[in-house]
């Protein structure tokens, strides 16, 4: 390996053979398995500089190739620690990128092995719950005396006063929806928590209005052992006004 080259890193795994993966990576170079004391780093030789391109399409392709390589390595080695997109190891202090990577693997060896052990045979699943407040609201309104009284009052008042009361009503509705979302979140979280080994709460994403994502989770579970989780999500998805998205299995990015 030339000393001035960098190494793009895809993932780490456990193994004892430095066999080629027979893949091309995002730079078009062969993907290699770099072995160091029972740990394998899946890498590709590249320029020792930041992955950059003016062309978004090139970067987007690179991202998909990154994930594809991690996926294929995941199939081969059963357990991987996936790296975030865009990490390049550089040569420095007279050492090649490969030597630097091995040095890092040596220093972090215990922690990396511990992580690989914890993630053995496990996969990550994405769970998102989306609700339509316009469908849920009538139920809330039906059970809320304060809202009902205010609505009656608005009808009996002159326009100016009614306008102010309507604003007050909108505030109360907003608050009730937030409270309801919170109650649903806690309930769903507990039910999902019981079906998986580990769980991370992620930031919610924007949905097309009026729909809103009220829950975005990353769940760690034995690969393909998600029958219980699937059943629970099906129940949640049957509640009127709620949709559930269930994605995966993914390499355990959120738990690496």
């Amino acid at each position: 390996m030339m000393t001035d080259k960098g190494l793009y890193i895809y993932c780490l795994a456990q193994g004892n053979q430095e066999e080629p993966l027979e893949l091309r990576g995002l730079g078009g170079q062969p993907v290699m398995a770099l072995l160091h004391r029972g740990l394998i780093a899946v890498v590709e030789e590249c320029e020792a500089k930041s992955i950059q391109s003016e062309d978004q399409k090139v970067l987007a392709d690179g991202l998909l190739i990154h994930q594809s390589v991690v996926d294929i390595a995941w199939e081969r080695y059963e357990t991987v620690l996936p790296f975030s997109f865009g990490m390049v190891i550089r040569p420095m202090d007279g050492k090649t990128a490969g030597e630097n990577l091995k040095g890092w693997m040596e220093r972090e060896s215990e922690e990396l092995r511990g992580k690989l052990m914890r993630l053995k045979s496990k996969a990550e699943y994405g769970v998102q719950v989306i609700w339509d407040p316009t469908i849920v609201l009538p139920k809330i309104r039906h059970n809320d005396k304060e809202i009902q009284d205010l609505e009656k009052e608005i009808q009996s008042k002159p326009k100016g006063v009614a306008y102010l009361l309507e604003r007050k009503l909108a505030e109360i509705i907003k608050k009730r929806l937030e409270e309801a979302a919170n109650v649903y979140f806690k309930d769903f979280y507990q039910r999902i928590r019981n079906c998986v080994e580990e769980i991370h709460v992620e930031k919610v994403r924007r949905e097309n209005p009026p729909k809103q994502m009220i829950m975005n989770l990353s769940c760690l579970q034995e690969k393909d052992e998600v029958v219980l989780l699937g059943r629970e999500l099906e129940k949640i998805g049957k509640i009127q006004g709620f949709d559930v998205r269930f994605t995966g299995p993914w390499p355990p990015y959120s738990f690496a």
Partner: protein
């Protein structure tokens, strides 16, 4: 309910993971992607325009069936 890896919403879910999650090396031997938050926003848009997972599948076929001699 079965988990899926198909569809546009799924692709966004995957992107969030590959861009924001995953192992990082915090040491001077690493050159990381400069300006990640900005790139992430642009990449999400670029990848969201990829025709669902079709192109993703194609990518996988490409890297898997064209090994270097």
């Amino acid at each position: 309910m079965e988990p899926t890896r198909q569809g546009r919403a799924t692709l966004v879910d995957l992107l969030d993971r590959v861009l924001d999650k995953g192992l990082v090396i915090n040491a001077d031997i690493i050159i990381s992607l400069a300006g990640i938050p900005l790139i992430a926003v642009e990449l999400r848009a670029a990848v969201a325009s990829v025709e669902t997972m079709w192109e993703y599948g194609l990518m996988r076929d490409f890297i898997g069936t064209h090994p270097r001699a």
